[in-house]
Every structure is written in structure tokens, then in C-alpha cells.
């Protein structure tokens, strides 16, 4: 297990390094002249030079990269250009908001999607299976702003059941806050349901067809027990992996959903940074969400192999 863990961590570190280079490239190399890009083509050359000096973008690229990445890991993300405050102040709050929204969505979507996937697998190739798999995937591929707007129109305006804004009034109770978060969270549920259900379905079908399941039936175990003890335990393994990879989708989805519902999380922050050409903020926010994704996949990978020794040994090769 030790070697396996070490190998995973090593690979994750290399990926993290490449990720930081990509982000740095996008924010500090691609624009050519960063200050010119921020201030526009008509700005005074002196102002451009001053801003470049201020941002540190007039130095050699290697120095810039090293400076950025070393202070990043010391927790110093620099100052936001548009807000004029340290980036870390902005990101802390935003991260918390996003986690709240994401956690709410996951609490709803994971059990729902697993249930859907298992039902689809048990009723394989029947109507309900087609509805769950094709319906789920069709909903998952619709952009979040489209599904979000349709939810707002139906539940927020026509049925008038739910608040359209994600922000509960100051000092509301936990449940009121949840009520305000329900529409954005449901938009995420729609985005994630199809993939998780599809993987659960595939995993369940595989273990339904497996020899150990046939043996369990043949030794006379009741169907309920076979399903619970033999089928589900094995079929839920791939689901863990897919839930982790969905966090990537989640962050992308949050940019749109938080903008749509005007919710002050990471996604909204990334959107604002992009609209304001706030490179320091954008750079840190993107790198942090990328690191979040890498951590999630790493945790999933490890828990997957902890739960399944077959993988652990096969992959450690």
C-alpha cells in the first residue's frame, strides 16, 4: 500500500506542476503584455509600464513563475487588481459559499443517481431503463444556464414555489438558507445525475452478471440479500470514482450557475475576475479549483483501491 500511495502522490505532484504551468501560461504569457491587455490599446504607455512594474509582469518569465508559485504555496496569492484587496480574502469566503452549494447538491444527487442507476440496471433494456439513461444523459448535456433558466421559470415564476435568488436574507435559519439554495442546487443535480446514474448502472449490470452473484443465488440466498450483500457492494465502487471526477464538471458548472443566481462563490469570483481582466485573482482562483479537482480524484483513487484490493495490487505494478 505504501508504494502505491507514493506512486499516486508522485504522479499527482507532476500533474500539479503541469497544471500550474498551464495556468501561468494562460495568465502571464499568453496576453503578451499583461498591463496593455488590462488597460486596453488606448492607454498611456507610461501607465502600462507602471502597471506592469506594479504587477511584476515586466520581469523575466522564469522569475515571474517562481515568484508566483512560491508565494502561492506560502498562502500569499497577491492582490486582486479589481477589488484592491488580497486575493486570499476574497477566495476564503467564496470557497465556503461554493462548498455549501456543492455539498447540498451532492447530498441530493448521489443517492438519487445511485437509486436511478440501480433501478435502470435491474430493469435493463426496459422502458424505465431507457428513460433513466437517455433522459439522464440528455439533461446532463444541456448547458447549466439553460436548465437553470427553465427551473427558474417553472418553479420560481410560474408555480411561484421557490425564491429566484440564491441569497437568503441576512440571519436566516438553516432551512430558509437551504430553500434559497434549492434552485441552484437542483441545476447542479440535473448536470450531475446522468453520469453518476450511468456509471452505477454499468457497475450494477457487471456485478449482476458476475459469477459470484450466480453462486449467491444458487446457494439459495433471497434476492434482497444477494442484491444488498453481493451486487451493490461491488457495483458502487466505480460510482465513487465517477463522483470524484464530477467535481471538475461541478466547478465549471458553478461559474455559470453562480453567475445566473448571483451567488457569491468561486464560480462567480472566476467570472468577475475574467470580466474585469483581473489576472492575479483569475490565476489563483483557477489554480485553486484545479488543485481541488486533483485532490478529489486522488482521494477517490485511494479510497477506491482501499475498498478494492484487486485494483490496489494490479495498479501498483
Amino acid at each position: 500500500m505504501g508504494r502505491f500511495l507514493l506512486k499516486r502522490l508522485g504522479l499527482a505532484t507532476i500533474t500539479l506542476f503541469l497544471l500550474s504551468v498551464i495556468v501561468f501560461f494562460g495568465a502571464q504569457v499568453l496576453p503578451g503584455n499583461v498591463a496593455r491587455r488590462i488597460l486596453g490599446p488606448f492607454a498611456d504607455q507610461a501607465a502600462v509600464d507602471a502597471l506592469n512594474k506594479n504587477l511584476g509582469t515586466d520581469r523575466p518569465l522564469l522569475t515571474q513563475y517562481w515568484d508566483w508559485i512560491s508565494s502561492f504555496f506560502r498562502g500569499d496569492f497577491g492582490d486582486s487588481f479589481s477589488y484592491g484587496v488580497p486575493v486570499s480574502d476574497l477566495i476564503g469566503d467564496a470557497l465556503l459559499h461554493s462548498l455549501k452549494l456543492a455539498a447540498f447538491a451532492f447530498v441530493m444527487v448521489v443517492p438519487l443517481a445511485i437509486l436511478g442507476g440501480v433501478i435502470a440496471a435491474l430493469k435493463r433494456d426496459r422502458l424505465i431503463d431507457r428513460v433513466i439513461t437517455i433522459g439522464g444523459l440528455s439533461l446532463a448535456v444541456v448547458p447549466e444556464f439553460v436548465s437553470g433558466i427553465i427551473l427558474i421559470l417553472v418553479f420560481g415564476l410560474w408555480l411561484d414555489l421557490l425564491p429566484v435568488s440564491a441569497n437568503a436574507p441576512e440571519g436566516s435559519s438553516f432551512f430558509t438558507q437551504l430553500k434559497y439554495l434549492l434552485l441552484p442546487a437542483l441545476t447542479l443535480v440535473i448536470l450531475l445525475f446522468g453520469y453518476i446514474a450511468r456509471i452505477t448502472r454499468a457497475g450494477t449490470i457487471e456485478s449482476l452478471d458476475a459469477d459470484y452473484t450466480r453462486t449467491a443465488y444458487l446457494k439459495g440466498l433471497p434476492r434482497q440479500v444477494v442484491l444488498r450483500r453481493h451486487v451493490l457492494r461491488n457495483s458502487l465502487l466505480p460510482t465513487i470514482a465517477v463522483v470524484a471526477t464530477q467535481t471538475g464538471f461541478l466547478v465549471g458548472g458553478l461559474v455559470v450557475i453562480e453567475t445566473l443566481f448571483n451567488y457569491p462563490g468561486m464560480g462567480k469570483l472566476i467570472f468577475t475576475a475574467a470580466s474585469q481582466k483581473d489576472f492575479p485573482l483569475l490565476e489563483s482562483a483557477v489554480l485553486i479549483s484545479g488543485i481541488g479537482f486533483l485532490c478529489a480524484t486522488l482521494v477517490a483513487d485511494l479510497s477506491y483501491s482501499l475498498l478494492n484490493p484487486r485494483i490496489r495490487y494490479a495498479r501498483a505494478e
Binding site: L11, I14, T15, L16, L18, L19, I22, V23, G26, A27, L30, P31, R37, I134, L137, S138, V141, V142, P143, E144, F145, V146, S147, I149, I150, I152, L153, L157, V164, G248, F249, V251, G252, G253, V255, V256, T259, L260, I270, F271, A274, S275, K277, F279, L282, V286, S289, G290, I291, F293, L294
Partner: protein, 296 residues
């Protein structure tokens, strides 16, 4: 079969049709009988027709302002209502298909061609380059496409070229991963060994021998990615990072009229939303049906 063969007739040696083309025809037959595929084609077909002939068949000029009749609810004059400048929503929805249906396929083709080449080379040679590219794939996948696209647009300024390039470049490693996996299992097969023994050159083996046998996953991947390209381009327009603000565009039209829905003006928002949803769902139904025929 009622005819009895004449034993004295010369034995006709049937020309054995090439197995691959039989398999291809069989797949096509299955595809044409699949309801998912047919529904997908109908949905996509509607928007392709709008993209090609939109300006000819649209009932009104999609750019014509009519300030006296702004935000008119759907009626005989404006089947889908009119927008904040009095422009006909139906016409804008029809013409809006063009831009996205030109950009998305170009970006996807770019990604598929690049990705296939990378996947073939890395899967065939393996080794260090292969490892390095797989790590790069992981790193690219750690940032959602929409955020990479935002970063690139902020850095380079919004233009069609930027959007096409960024989508293509992000798709390339993803497609390479799929192609590589397929190549890894093909390269051990006898026909590849035979080609090696014949002293064929590596590029020939990769592109003439292996490539035709991994077309299945590539076609599936292309269709799925096409859906994502449309997803991304529409989302960028919605966020205000579209390439060209002057032409009718579903995402941009939705963003511009989003503020009016609290006044129950839903038509300039709902109809373009349905347009995006049906186009993407159509493409994904096609992708799903194709994937199923290759799985058999």
C-alpha cells in the same frame, strides 16, 4: 430459395465481400433502425436547415429593430414574440443556429485530428513521451473547459479563432487518451505484427493499418465532443465572452433578456434556451446510438 441448382453448372466462386464493409453495413442498418438515432437526426437536421437557409426562411429580418413593438408576447405577428428592441424572436432563433454550427464542428475537427495523431503516436511508441502526454492530459482535465476558455479569451481577447483554438486544444488530449487506449490493444494484434515483419514503415502502420481499425471510438468521441463544443460556445456567449456580439446568438440573447423574466417576459429567454437544449440533446442522442452500435 425455390430454384434448384444445376449440378453441371460451373461453380460460381462468390466474391467474398470484405468483412469490414459487411460489418459497416450491418452497423449502418442497426443505426437507421434505432429510434434514438432517428430522433437525434431530426433534431440536428432542423437546426442544420436553419443554419444553412435561416436568412432565407426566417419570417422577418432578425436584425430589424421595431422600438414601438418591443417585448410583445407571442402572437400572430411574432410567433415567438419580440425582444427588447422589437426584433422577431423566431427569426433570431432560426438565424442564431448558423454561427454555433460553423464554429463547433471546426473546433471539434481540429481537436479530433490533433488528438487522433497524438493518440496514435503515443499508443504506438509508448515510453516516456506517452507518460508525459498522459500527465499533461490529467493537468488539462483538472481545469473545466469553460474556465480554460475564459482564461484564454481574457488573455487574447474574444475572437472566433481564439474560441476555436482553445476548444480544439483542450479536446486534443482528451481524444488522444481514448485513441491511445484503443491503439494499445490493437498494436498487439497479428495484423500489426505482420505489417512489421513486412518491414512497413511506422507511419504507414499507424495511419494505414491501425487507424482504420480504431475509427469506431474516434467517431463516437467526435460526436460527443461536438456536443461539448456547442455547450461551451453557447455558455461563453451567455457569459458575455462570445466571439461576435453583432450577430443573432442564442446564449447572448438569453443573457440580454434574463433580467426581464421577473416581469414575466419569458419568450426571448425560453425559445433560445429550447433551441440550445434540442440541438445538444439531438447530437448526444446520435452519439449514444453510434456508441451502442459499436459496442455490439
Amino acid at each position: 430459395m425455390t430454384t434448384i441448382e444445376d449440378p453441371a453448372a460451373p461453380i460460381a466462386i462468390p466474391i467474398r465481400p470484405d468483412e469490414a464493409s459487411v460489418a459497416r453495413r450491418e452497423r449502418l442498418r442497426l443505426l437507421l433502425r434505432s429510434p434514438t438515432f432517428i430522433i437525434g437526426c431530426v433534431l440536428l437536421g432542423v437546426w442544420v436547415v436553419c443554419a444553412i437557409f435561416g436568412t432565407l426562411i426566417a419570417p422577418q429580418n432578425p436584425q430589424a429593430d421595431d422600438i414601438l413593438n418591443k417585448l410583445v408576447a407571442p402572437s400572430g405577428d411574432h410567433l415567438f414574440g419580440s425582444d427588447r428592441l422589437g426584433r422577431d424572436v423566431l427569426s433570431r432563433v432560426m438565424v442564431g443556429a448558423r454561427e454555433i454550427l460553423i464554429m463547433a464542428p471546426i473546433a471539434t475537427i481540429l481537436g479530433t485530428v490533433l488528438g487522433t495523431a497524438i493518440g496514435l503516436v503515443t499508443g504506438y511508441y509508448r515510453g516516456l513521451v506517452d507518460e508525459a502526454i498522459m500527465r499533461l492530459v490529467d493537468a488539462v482535465l483538472a481545469i473545466p473547459l469553460i474556465i480554460t476558455a475564459l482564461l484564454a479569451i481574457v488573455a487574447l481577447g474574444p475572437s472566433r479563432i481564439t474560441i476555436i483554438l482553445v476548444i480544439g486544444f483542450v479536446f486534443a488530449p482528451i481524444i488522444a487518451k481514448t485513441v491511445r487506449a484503443a491503439v494499445l490493444s490493437e498494436r498487439e494484434l497479428d495484423y500489426v505484427q505482420a505489417a512489421r515483419l513486412r518491414n512497413e514503415r511506422s507511419p504507414y502502420i499507424m495511419f494505414a493499418e491501425i487507424l482504420p481499425n480504431v475509427m469506431g471510438p474516434i467517431i463516437v468521441e467526435f460526436t460527443v465532443r461536438l456536443g461539448y463544443a456547442i455547450f461551451t460556445i453557447a455558455t461563453l456567449s451567455f457569459l458575455g465572452f462570445g466571439a461576435d456580439p453583432s450577430i443573432p446568438d442564442w446564449g447572448k440573447d438569453i443573457a440580454e433578456h434574463y433580467q426581464f423574466i421577473s416581469a414575466d417576459v419569458w419568450w426571448p429567454v425560453l425559445f433560445p434556451s429550447i433551441a440550445i437544449a434540442t440541438l445538444i440533446i439531438g447530437i448526444n442522442l446520435i452519439a449514444d446510438a453510434i456508441a451502442q452500435t459499436f459496442e455490439r
